[in-house]
Amino acid sequence: MSVKKILIVDDDEYLLIGLAAKLKANGYAVVTASDGIGAVASTRREKPDLIILDLGLPAGDGFLVLERLRAMAELLATPVIVLSAWDPTNNRQRSLKAGAVAFFQKPPDNREFLSAIRHALGEEVALSQFLKT
């Protein structure tokens, strides 16, 4: 199976480094972007299998990015997991409504976070199907 590519969008340089290292260690290929415009451009260019998206971004916040991605047919199927410092009270619902598959407030629990990534990439489904057969 080919290596899944994940795009991380966050304006914090260190977070990008830390999360990228974690994801690589878990067997994923990683590309990064640090603002809204970059996020959309990278998605088009890199065609990632999954996007991890911050909400508080320069040059177009996370919701705007979600809106742009949903507007492009070829990107419609790319799952987005929101990882934000913002308050989940309203933002969780708002993110899910805008098309994200999951919302995590920073800092996430690694186990839950990685599990959500695998789920979003369809890997766990594959596993359960594997078990069934």
Partner: protein, 726 residues
């Protein structure tokens, strides 16, 4: 009261018999015998100028000298119709000499005035010179005011011997005295007696008249004062209404405050001064009722002026009642406190702004902290995962300590935000029907690692068949983790923490959960303090860092906002137990609004179960909320009820609807639901169970509770069935 008393005096009239009339004025008339006179009133009653015309007339008519004296017999004012002898004697007398002014017999004391006042009858005296005078008492009730002395006349032809003796005593010329005496016409004793009785009646009547006049003056002055008070008070609206609220009196202040002039408002209902909202809520009637029942009602609120502008008023309503009968009406005192109210609102706004600012700041800080914290968290966990190569045991330990600190920091950041939310009342609580054992098991898994570090055992003791709680699952989880973490922190290694759950012994509408540790304990004096914001209890100072000390404060808020209570019991050196209560979920209470006799007239109720399941993993939250929304739209409010989520399983969910309809009605609803759920991504299975209402002679509440318990059993059975299918 005052008026009626003065009336009594007038009505008593003049007694026809002299014998009776000579008794104390007002004897037998309680009001007067009990009355108290002020010194100035006494003086006023015996005002010589007022008495003068009467005494003058009497003296001239009866051809006697007449004068007013005080109770000691001292002359008050002048002697009217003074006889030549009296003038002679008075001119000779040393001024201020004590003794009766009408007596020619010093130094013997004249007891006439004293006797008259004592007996209440006119007392007649014949002096050394053979001259007669009579003292008439002037009393009002128990008060002796003074006397009238009349006379200085002889009752027979003067005796030369007596005159000579008197002249010697007085040091006047006996010849002169004789000449004067023989010029005076003798007055017969009997006619003098008669004249005395007449004087007594006159004096009594005049005294009463005077008293009445004084009272009248006082009353009219009081009335004037009252009128000035009521009319002149412009800062307060003072008005009266009848018992139906129609205005019967209106002062200048009321006119100024409310804009109606007296002619406009008299007879109008005072409810027109209320806002339309208050009128709809029956505020005017409620206030009258309160005033009638409690003797007074006070209210603050918006009132409407004639020109429809509003002001914030403080109103006091008092019933104008005698013997609790409020049918006489009400008196209202109204004050315009809009300025004060505005200041209060201003102050509140400023306070709110400050709190909002604080919340914004805390929220900003906590969010700003989260991103770098996350980066650190990723770095540390990466290292622990061996991303940068293998670790020595020492390095691993250091990293685990760092990780522990990151977690503490994360909790503090969350606490900060919670506290600011508590203060701005923005704390979100979404109660649901939740199972306590499931939650405790989940919490234990979370806390396990922490407890293991200190080798502390975690035990649970949960009552079997514990009813579900009606609470916010995430918030209760937060409280439990708070309490357990707290326990772990203050319990030395090898200790234990026990979590109990059961029905609250004091009130079975509540569940009671407790967390017991074997830590250092808290002294009773500190019990209330531990739940304070930023509490730092000294006796528990044996750990290096305890976070921000906000955990228990937040827990208390979270519990109390869900209708529960939290408290601690502890023994220093033995450990502490934190208890909290949660409302138990009661299907009966939840359904009470729709399971009513009217709704159940058809004789049955139907339970609809809508099963949703997902083969692969959890059902997406948005799907569930979409289905719930659809269902809510499809049911009839007030007749059907959509129950809250009853299960915590992630891969299945069942929605229950209780419909007060018979089977055909329920089938129609099922059709409608299916149509409405057509567009939903998840296709739920709908199943119908109809519960027949027991047809018997039992009272309605019993029949309803029967239906409720049947529904409860059906729900539990349905959930168990699904569980076993999985």
């Amino acid at each position: 009261m005052i008026l009626s008393k003065s009336k009594q005096i007038e009505e008593e009239g003049y007694p026809p018999s002299m014998e009776n009339s000579s008794s104390d004025i007002g004897r037998g008339v309680d009001g007067i015998s009990r009355l108290n006179l002020l010194p100035e009133e006494r003086t006023e009653l015996l005002d010589v100028k007022a008495w003068a015309p009467m005494l003058e007339t009497y003296g001239l008519t009866m051809k006697v000298a007449v004068a007013l004296t005080d109770t000691e017999g001292n002359l008050l004012g002048k002697c009217h119709n003074a006889q030549p002898i009296w003038t002679l004697v008075q001119n000779t007398k040393v001024s201020n000499q004590a003794g009766c002014p009408f007596c020619l017999s010093p130094p013997l004391p004249c007891m006439a005035v004293a006797d008259a006042l004592r007996t209440g009858r006119p007392t007649m005296v014949r002096d050394l010179a053979g001259l007669m005078h009579v003292a008439v008492p002037l009393s009002l009730g128990k008060h002796s005011l003074g006397a009238i002395i009349a006379g200085q006349v002889s009752d027979q032809y003067p005796e030369s011997l007596l005159l000579k003796r008197a002249a010697e005593k007085f040091g006047v010329s006996a010849q002169l005295l004789w000449d004067l005496s023989v010029k005076q016409r003798p007055v017969g004793r009997a006619s003098l007696q008669l004249a005395a009785d007449l004087l007594c009646t006159l004096g009594k009547a005049f005294l009463r008249e005077r008293y009445g006049a004084i009272l009248e003056t006082h009353i009219s002055q009081a009335n004037l004062r009252f009128r000035l008070l009521v009319e002149g008070v412009t800062d307060y609206a003072l008005f009266t209404t009848d018992y139906l609220g129609r205005v019967t009196g209106w002062n200048v202040g009321a006119e100024r405050m409310l804009g109606y002039c007296e002619a406009q408002i008299l007879g109008q209902n005072f409810s027109r001064m209320f806002t339309s909202e208050d009128i709809q809520n029956h505020a005017p009637e409620k206030q009258f009722l309160k005033a009638s029942q409690e003797g007074r009602a006070e209210d603050e609120g918006w009132r409407v002026r004639e020109n429809k502008t509003q002001f914030w008023a403080n109103v006091i309503i008092t019933p104008l009642a005698e013997d609790g009968d409020s049918r006489r009406g009400f008196a209202l005192v109204m004050q315009d406190i809009t300025t004060r109210r505005k200041a209060e609102i201003e102050l509140e706004t400023v306070r709110q702004e400050r709190i909002d600012l604080q919340e914004q700041f805390l929220s900003h800080v906590s969010h700003e902290l989260r991103t770098p914290l996350t980066a650190i968290y990723f770095f540390i966990t990466n290292l622990l995962d061996g991303v940068a190569g293998n670790l020595t045991p020492g390095q691993r330990e250091t990293l685990e300590f760092s990780l522990e600190n990151v977690k503490q920091l994360k909790d503090m950041v969350s606490d900060l935000l919670d506290v600011s939310r508590i203060e701005t009342l923005k704390l979100n609580i979404n109660p649901q029907c939740m199972s306590v054992p499931g939650l405790i098991a989940e919490v234990l898994r979370t806390c396990h690692a922490n407890a293991k570090l200190k080798n502390i055992s975690l035990n649970t003791d949960i009552a079997e068949s514990l009813p579900s709680a009606w609470a916010d699952r995430a918030r209760i989880r937060q409280v439990l983790i708070n309490l357990i973490d707290n326990g772990i922190r203050f319990t030395p290694g090898e200790g234990s923490i026990a979590i109990h759950g059961g029905v609250f012994a004091e009130d079975n509408n509540f569940l009671c959960l407790s967390v017991t540790d074997t830590g250092c304990g808290i002294s009773p004096g500190n019990y209330p303090m531990v739940f304070d914001r930023l509490a730092q209890v000294e006796t528990v100072a044996d750990t290096s860092r305890k976070g921000l000390g906000l955990g228990l404060f937040i827990s208390k808020e979270l519990i109390s906002q869900q209708g529960g209570r939290i408290w601690v019991e502890s023994q220093v050196g033995q450990g502490s137990t934190f208890y909290f209560t949660l409302p138990a979920f009661s299907l009966a209470r939840f359904c009470a609004s729709i399971l009513t006799p009217t709704n159940l007239e058809a004789g049955s109720a139907t339970l609809l179960s809508i099963d949703v399941s997902s083969i692969d993993g959890a059902i997406p939250a948005q799907d569930l909320s979409a289905i719930r929304k659809t269902l809510e739209r499809s049911i009839f409010l007030g007749q059907d009820l959509l129950l809250p989520s009853m299960t915590e399983a992630e891969t299945t969910e069942t929605f229950f609807i209780i419909a007060c309809a018979d089977r055909s009605g329920a089938e129609a609803m099922t059709k409608r639901l299916r149509r409405d759920l057509e567009n939903s991504r998840v296709k739920p299975t709908i199943c119908l169970t109809t519960v027949q209402l027991p047809v018997n002679d039992q009272p309605w509440d019993k029949r309803i509770s029967e239906v409720t318990s049947q529904i409860d059993k059906l729900i539990q059975g349905h959930l168990l069935g699904r569980e076993s299918l999985r």
